[in-house]
Structure formats: C-alpha cells, structure tokens
Subunit: 152 residues, 2 copies
Amino acid sequence: MELLDRATAWSWLGSAVEEARTGLAEGGVPIGAALYGADGTLLGRGHNRRVQDDDPSTHAETAAFRAAGRQRTYRGTTMVTTLSPCWYCSGLVRQFGISRVVIGEAVTFRGGHDWLAAHGVEIVLLDDPDCVAMMRDFIGSNPALWNEDIGE
Amino acid sequence: MELLDRATAWSWLGSAVEEARTGLAEGGVPIGAALYGADGTLLGRGHNRRVQDDDPSTHAETAAFRAAGRQRTYRGTTMVTTLSPCWYCSGLVRQFGISRVVIGEAVTFRGGHDWLAAHGVEIVLLDDPDCVAMMRDFIGSNPALWNEDIGE
C-alpha cells in the first residue's frame, strides 16, 4: 500500500470531523468516521447514533462501514475516525481486513489501535487538538452518556 | 456470576438457532444470536442481515445487541450465538463488558472466543452438531457470500 500523505490524511479527517459535529448538533456523542477506498474514493461516512436512534450498536465506524454497503474486499481501504477505535470498532477493522486507520486523537480515549498495529493494520495518529477539545468538552458535560457508550 | 446450567444454556441456544433458521429462510447467512440479562430475561435477539438489508454491519450478535436497546450495564449478561463470534462481534463483547458467551459451534469458523476467555469472559461452547450441519451446508452452497461475511 502506498504511504498516505499528510495532506490527504488531514483532508479525510475533515470528513470525519464534519460527521462528529453533525452528531453533536443532534445531541449525540460527537464521534465521526469515514471509510475511503484504495483509490481515495469516499465509500461511506457516519457518526455515533446511540442517542439519536436509541441504538447502542451504531458507533461512528460501524455507521461509516454500513453506509459503504457490501464490498467484496476491504483491502486497501482506510477507516478514518475522530477518536481511537474501541474494541468493537477495532474488531470490525481486523475482521474485515481494513488496511489502514487514520485517527484524530487518542488522548481522551485509547482503544484497540495498538492491537491493530500489531496485526498489520497501518495506524496514522494525527493528534488533532480540535478533536481532543471536542471530546473533552463532551465528556465533561455528559460523563454518564460517555461511560454508557464505552460500556463503563 | 452463577454457573450456567446446561439446560438453560441449550434452551437459550434454541432462541439463537430459531433466529438463524429465520435468516436462512430469508435467503440470508444463517447465524442467530440472543442477549440474555443477568436474571435470565431475554433482552434482544436477531440474525445476520447482510443479504436481507444489504448491510454488512449487522452480524447476528450486533443485531441482538441492537434489539436489546440501550443498557446502563452489561455486567452479568450472556450473548448466545450459533457460531463462534468473529473479531467484530468479539470486540463488541469485550468493549461492553458482556460477561458470558454461549456458542453453538466453533468447527466451521473459529473467531475470537479464546481471546475473550483470556480477558475474563466466560465461554460456554456447546458443540452442537445441528449448528455445525447448518453452517456446513450454507458454506458449501454459498462460499462467496460466506467469505464476504467474514472479510476473506
């Protein structure tokens, strides 16, 4: 797989951040994601819908994965997410052979991305201070909702 | 957590098998699951919906988890599934702290249940020949669909 240039990584993160902000405006958990194809095409994007749909199964990454529809292979695809993927979403990446994960931040929550790296997934951690600020504000104002979303 | 008696485990597996058979009758991947509460109440059940809804994100376990709706805690709950959970569904179990997984079979597919056991989840593997036969028939007749469902 070709190396991802930083400009593309940040531009893709922008799609995920837009999703997160949409979720926040809807009163939901502000985490967004987008799945990009090997050729750089946007396959699908989405955000956490726990509050909006009363649906604990729709994390941002699963929403983007669902929006992309059925694919014969995920080889070469990139999952972009505003936050380090939890075990559920890390399991999704590993099972379906998604090749790369671009992560906005892993400061407010550290999921399974080291495990993914150990299993051959390329991890690009952007350490975006805006993503950190968005989650920090959200968690500070909604600690119970946040704990529910990560099963704690 | 109390030890699960075999009669209860097999009765719970029956709900998951019913779901799998419903999925098969719909032309889908025949894997079913059910989530039971700590008190033995059925919280939700469902089956794989890749074909029916064109939705790669709905594995049996995620369908049951979604059907159960938002829960404050999953402590003491049991995920019952006809087939060893893939990494995606194993990640779900680990992230949300589901305490126990009852598995119909792990012969036709071996997912992440050893990993779950290593992380403190109680695993009850029933080795049900009917579950094995159902998956073996399905995989034999639909190898491409099956490979798609597990990302291979």
